[in-house]
């Protein structure tokens, strides 16, 4: 690591001392309970977070993306909270979508359905995907948002140039109800500047390469804003995966790519730390996930949820393969994308080769260890989570996965 100068600007960092946030008269009334208990609690959350992180005021948001959907994650405690909130009259006031749900046994699915129902009663569009931008919830440049799915946060900030912090489930719900979020962190110009320049010294070709780069940097950097040089992504999916892997192994919520992403021209300040990444670092990550095929009992594509192009690619590779897979292939995606895949005939091809498109769900937030012990995937994010749950993982290119799988 070559350090030119040490501008160590990590964010967001709690500021304990400082003035309390400015509130308008209407916000004061909301905080005093004038608009009911649910709005009051939501305001309390936003005001406390604003004070903790040194925000000057609340700013309007265009949309919200809520995490805390899977029953595996939020459990009975989360259901109880959501139910109490709904009964107190909680309604979202901006366009809001959900993160993926979990899948499990009958009892699990029953509880999962209860969670979805509660969000629906709050006025949320209950499309449950980590890629809302491939369908229902696509922000534009400069929009302020309160999103809470780390890969979607990275996509919105980096690729679209919208602005959101990495929210938690309850804080994004509070923002959705009030329609505002505290003005701190990545909502502020200054905090969107690069804190480290990453010189990529090897040619990145596949989706897998971007997975590996993201995985490596998430582990190496802190909550930095990396600025990439020598990166020429051919497809949007590759950048999606880069951001998702960085956000999974680390806490990076924004990156810039020279000549590619919308804010790159204004991202660099005078002196920024520089690091180099070569093929060696990428291979080092890949070697950690080289479980033999005989120990793999399922394949996962679609972490984050697959785009139509990824699904098309799978269908074409399976046709070239020419014989069905002996282990199941799961492709997780949004309902919007699956509808297209159905209409275009890709779903039918994939099913013929022992593949299945799953919508509204995520295997990472499902009790997957009950069913499988080894997973093959092309996603660095999925590899990270599955291995942390104690599963064996094989990480490889989509082409190799489809051609070499038993």
């Amino acid at each position: 690591m070559v350090v030119e100068t040490g501008i160590a600007f990590k964010l967001p960092h709690p500021k304990i001392l400082g003035d309390p946030m400015y509130l308008t008269k209407e916000e004061e009334l909301a905080l005093a309970g004038e608009y009911g208990y649910a709005v009051q609690k939501a305001m309390e959350i936003l005001v406390a977070l604003g004070d903790v992180y040194g925000a000057d005021r609340l700013i309007p948001i265009k949309s919200a993306q809520i995490a805390g959907v899977s029953y595996k994650n939020i459990g009975e405690a989360g259901i109880e909270f959501l139910r109490d909130f709904v009964e107190a009259g909680a309604k979202v006031s901006v366009y809001t979508t959900l993160n993926p749900a979990g899948i499990g046994d009958e009892e699990f699915m029953d509880r999962q359905a209860e969670i979805i129902k509660l969000y629906r009663r709050m006025g949320v569009d209950v499309t449950a995907t980590c890629t809302p931008y491939y369908g229902a919830n696509l922000p534009k440049f400069g929009d302020h948002l309160a999103w809470s799915e780390s890969s979607a946060v990275s996509f919105a900030n980096s690729i679209i140039g919208a602005r959101t912090n990495r929210e938690g489930g309850p804080s994004s719900l509070a923002a959705a109800i009030v329609g505002k979020t505290p003005n701190y962190g990545l909502h502020i110009n200054e905090n969107r500047k690069a804190t480290v320049v990453v010189e990529v010294e090897t040619e990145l070709k596949s989706f897998l390469d971007y997975s590996l780069l993201g995985y490596h940097l998430g582990k190496t950097l802190e909550s930095d804003v990396p600025y990439f040089r020598n990166l020429k992504p051919e497809r949007l999916d590759q950048l999606k995966e880069l951001g998702a892997s960085m956000a999974a192994t680390g806490s990076i919520a924004l990156y810039h790519v020279e000549g590619e992403t919308p804010e790159w021209k204004t991202a660099i300040r005078d002196k920024v730390e520089r690091i180099q990444v070569g093929r060696e670092e990428l291979e080092d990550i890949r070697e950690r996930f080289d479980t033999e095929w005989r120990e793999i009992d399922a394949i996962l594509i679609g972490c984050p949820h697959a785009s139509l192009m990824e699904i098309k690619e799978v269908a074409e590779l399976l046709k070239m393969r020419g014989k069905p897979l002996r282990i199941p292939l799961f492709i997780t995606t949004s309902r919007a994308v699956k509808a297209l895949a159905d209409a275009l005939g890709y779903t039918e091809v994939i099913e013929r080769y022992n593949g299945r498109l799953l919508t509204d769900v995520c295997l990472v937030v499902s009790p997957i260890r009950d069913w499988y012990s080894g997973i093959a995937t092309n996603s660095g994010k999925a590899a990270f989570y599955f291995s942390s749950f104690g599963l064996k993982v094989r990480l490889d290119d989509m082409e190799k996965l489809m051609m070499e799988a038993p």
């Binding site: 709690p14 304990i16 001392l17 609690k41 309390e44 959350i45 406390a48 977070l49 004070d51 903790v52 995490a67 805390g68 994650n73 939020i74 459990g75 009975e76 405690a77 989360g78 109880e80 909270f81 809470s148 929210e167 938690g168 489930g169 309850p170 804080s171 509070a174």
Partner: protein, 130 residues
């Protein structure tokens, strides 16, 4: 002894301190039914947070941890107040939805388990009562 921090969640409480020297994870780290700390990395594992003034440097782990504080309150096993060095999203949101007074910005190395504390979540004052 009086310490002054910043009041984050309003409310007053008096009780016995339970002090963790390490950051605390609520999701998977505290049993919402009993209030007992189960986090294997915790230095106060096996203790119950119920009815205590819970003191620790900062929260860690999943943001879903906020819901665990809510469940503790619903089950009558919540701490009476929380004191941290650094407030972050998990504990801040959890304390609000659970209605637990929260003071941040306190040097927690000055506090020990068993001390009798008076906490004011508005003024940010923590008093050690002899």
């Amino acid at each position: 002894m009086k310490l002054r921090g910043k009041g984050i969640v309003k409310g007053k409480a008096e009780g016995t301190a339970l002090v963790s020297r390490k950051p605390l994870s609520f999701l998977g780290g505290v049993d919402p039914e009993t209030g007992i700390i189960t986090d294997v990395e915790s230095d106060i594992r096996g203790e119950s947070v119920a009815g205590k003034i819970l003191v620790f440097p900062r929260g860690k782990g999943s943001t879903v941890g906020s819901y665990v504080l809510y469940a503790l309150a619903k089950n009558g096993k919540a701490p009476k107040a929380i004191i941290v060095e650094e407030a972050e999203t998990i504990v801040t949101v959890g304390a609000i939805i659970a209605g637990i007074p929260l003071v941040a910005g306190i040097d927690v190395s000055k506090l020990r388990s068993g001390m009798r504390l008076r906490v004011d979540g508005e003024s940010g004052e923590v008093e050690v009562v002899d």
